[in-house]
């Protein structure tokens, strides 16, 4: 099935273009919705006309207060949420290909927890005052965890779901212990902030975080996309890949590093948000198939839309308070995970 998707370039390019347009429109729609929802009375039309007006350099009808709310609260939040969703979905795609298991995902594998430990330690020892100190520490945590996961689960051959899940459970349990230790050592007034962050917190986004996070994610996703063809072959088996002249070890190392990098970057910005890397790639596979040349860009676009939508829900459900967005993604993702486990096991792609 994977082979049949690797059709000659022109028609597949056209198909990618078509789907990209579709998911781009979905992203625009979801972002507009998210921009128009909030505690202040600033609805869809005003928000959009405000943005449209200022994009063309016109003086807008928005009051200074409305501008503050739109440009300094809602817009940065939508942008960062999109970046985070994109990174999580793409790193899900990568880990699923590397482990050749459809249930792999940064949160389930414990990689997000590892990144969180890195970020918490960095904050604890004051590294966070260096602009990219926290994302780099989170990257180190994520990379360390990936190594650990592969060490426990074993590198070669197709991994059984049981092995993957057990590995994730053990790794997560270990890091949870470290996280709880850190939390009981920090002063009371910082614990609340850290707890909210751990469950995925997008409430305090500002542009500084976007400038720090987005280069990691955009460059990482672009580089991962360069390996889309190799990933198609990798998932069919390492022997086949070797026969086709792919340097399997180098490719895998490359993918590990960049998937860890984008995961670490977004965890340091938004905390632990689970299941995005599971739901999004699977929905794309069901709709379009398993060709990574489609899967990566479309999962990136749809991942952004999905998380923006989840975050919008998180803001509405118990307004004026907000749920951590990780609660919403887990509420959707956990049942989806069980469904996958029951119906698909380790099978790939659309049934």
């Amino acid at each position: 099935m994977i082979k049949s998707d690797q059709s000659p370039i022109p028609s597949s390019l056209y198909r990618l273009f078509k789907w990209s347009i579709f998911f781009f429109l979905v992203l625009i729609a979801v972002s507009s919705l998210s921009l128009s929802v909030g505690a202040a009375r600033l609805g869809l039309l005003r928000a959009l006309s405000g943005i449209w007006g200022s994009a063309r350099g016109l003086k807008t009808a928005l009051s200074p207060l409305e501008e503050t709310i739109l440009y300094r609260i809602r817009l940065p939040r939508v942008l960062l949420t999109g970046i985070v969703g994109m990174a999580l979905a793409v790193s899900g795609v990568v880990f699923q290909a590397l482990l050749r298991n459809p249930l792999a995902e940064p949160f389930i594998l414990g990689i997000s927890s590892g990144a969180a430990v890195g970020a918490l330690l960095a904050t604890g020892i004051g590294l966070s005052f260096i602009p990219i100190g926290t994302p780099l520490a989170a990257f180190v945590g994520a990379a360390f965890t990936v190594t650990l996961v592969f060490f426990i689960a074993g590198m070669r051959g197709r991994l059984q779901s049981n092995t993957i899940l057990l590995t994730g459970v053990i790794v997560t349990a270990f890091f949870t212990a470290i996280i709880m230790t850190i939390l009981s050592l920090v002063p009371d007034e910082r614990v609340h902030g850290m707890l909210f962050w751990l469950y995925g917190d997008l409430t305090l986004v500002n542009y500084r975080e976007i400038f720090i996070t987005s280069p990691f994610v955009l460059i990482g996703v672009a580089l991962i996309y360069l390996k889309a063809r190799d990933m198609n072959i990798l998932v069919t088996g390492e022997d086949a890949a070797l026969q086709l002249g792919i340097d399997v070890e180098a490719t895998k190392r490359f993918l590990f590093i960049f998937a860890s990098l984008i995961t670490g970057a977004v965890v340091s910005a938004s905390g632990i948000i689970g299941f995005v890397g599971l739901i999004v790639p699977h929905l794309i596979r069901m709709m379009i198939g398993s060709d990574h040349r489609f899967l990566i860009p479309l999962a990136a676009l749809f991942g952004a839309s999905f998380l923006i939508l989840a975050d919008t829900l998180a803001r509405i459900v118990i307004a004026p308070s907000e749920l951590p967005v990780g609660v919403v993604t887990a509420a959707i993702g956990a049942p989806f995970f069980i469904f996958l486990l029951k119906t698909r096991g380790t099978k790939w792609g659309p049934s």
């Binding site: 503050t68 809602r74 009371d188 007034e189 409430t203 004026p320 308070s321």
Partner: protein, 303 residues
């Protein structure tokens, strides 16, 4: 012409009345030493903690309050104000859209990152950080100062001090029973050093059996409680009316405890003893009466 002059005069008077006298703000430092500019007479205040809402209402500044947090339940009419989230989970957009000219918060309840975010929007966020009864009175005076209500704050604090003094005198030279303050039942949580509750127990004429604990709110095993042999057990309500019956049936399993033998297990409303607000004095009075019922004749309670 005459008529024109009258119009002008009336216009000038109206203009003078609506023009604020205080065009410039004042520079203040909050309890953490954060510097900020606050209008001389703030008119749109958001309270980020139930205790601060209580202080503002106690100072008669109700009409200046434009937003409160979710558990601001006292006085009951404070519930009618717009809610800006709970005090650990603030809704930044709601706060910004209410456009306050002063935000009052607490240093150990509100998340520091939310506070910094609000400051970035240019709002003065003034934090109080009272740890003792005296510091609570100090924070009432500071808030009074900030809001141009110093005389009223002085008056209220003088009254509160008088009530504290009354308790102190009534308790002079009385034996101090050992007290276990039960903040949570499953698990058993009590208060250690450096908490209001710890100093309240001392001021109310008791000895906190957990006063040696470094952890502020430690979890206790029943074994530790048994070895400390409390003579009075105070059960906090934590918002649920059945907590006393549940706690009673738990404690009655431990017959050897002096407090159980003497029937000295009492309920105390948690809001009265864990909020750094004027009502803490009411909490002190109730606690003193529970630990030393014999002083009831000697003190006069405010209705």
């Amino acid at each position: 012409m005459k008529r024109m002059e009258i119009y002008l005069l009336v216009g000038a008077i109206i203009l003078a009345l609506i023009t604020p006298f205080d065009l410039w703000g004042k520079e203040v430092f909050d309890a953490l030493g954060r510097r900020m500019e606050v209008p001389n007479r703030p008119r749109r205040i958001i309270s980020l903690a139930p205790s601060i809402t209580e202080i503002l209402y106690d100072l008669g500044l109700e009409e200046l309050v434009i937003g409160v947090t979710r558990f601001s339940n006292y006085p009951p009419r404070a519930r009618k104000k717009p809610i800006v989230g709970s005090y650990v989970n603030l809704n930044i957009e709601r706060i910004v859209s209410l456009n306050p000219d002063l935000i009052l918060g607490t240093a150990d309840g509100n998340r520091r990152d939310s506070v910094e975010r609000l400051s970035e929007f240019g709002f003065p966020v003034y934090l109080v950080n009272p740890k003792t009864m005296d510091e609570i009175f100090g924070s009432i005076i500071k808030i009074g100062d900030l809001l141009d209500s110093r005389p009223r704050a002085d008056l209220r604090v003088a009254l509160l001090r008088k009530r504290v003094q009354q308790i102190r005198e009534a308790l002079l030279n009385r034996a101090r029973p050992r007290v276990f303050l039960q903040l949570g039942l499953h698990p058993l949580v009590t208060c250690g050093q450096g908490t209001f509750q710890n100093s309240l127990i001392r001021m109310a004429g008791g000895i906190n059996v957990a006063s040696g604990q470094r952890i502020r709110y430690p979890t206790y095993s029943i074994e530790e409680v048994l070895s400390k042999r409390p003579e009075v057990i105070l059960v906090t309500s934590m918002g649920s009316p059945e907590s006393l019956t549940q706690s009673l049936s738990f404690w009655h399993r431990w017959k050897g405890l002096p407090a159980v033998e003497r029937g000295r297990i009492h309920l105390i409303e948690s809001d009265l003893i864990d909020r750094p607000s004027p009502r803490i004095v009411r909490g002190l009075e109730e606690m003193a009466l529970l630990i030393h019922p014999e002083i009831e004749e000697m003190i006069e309670l405010e209705k």
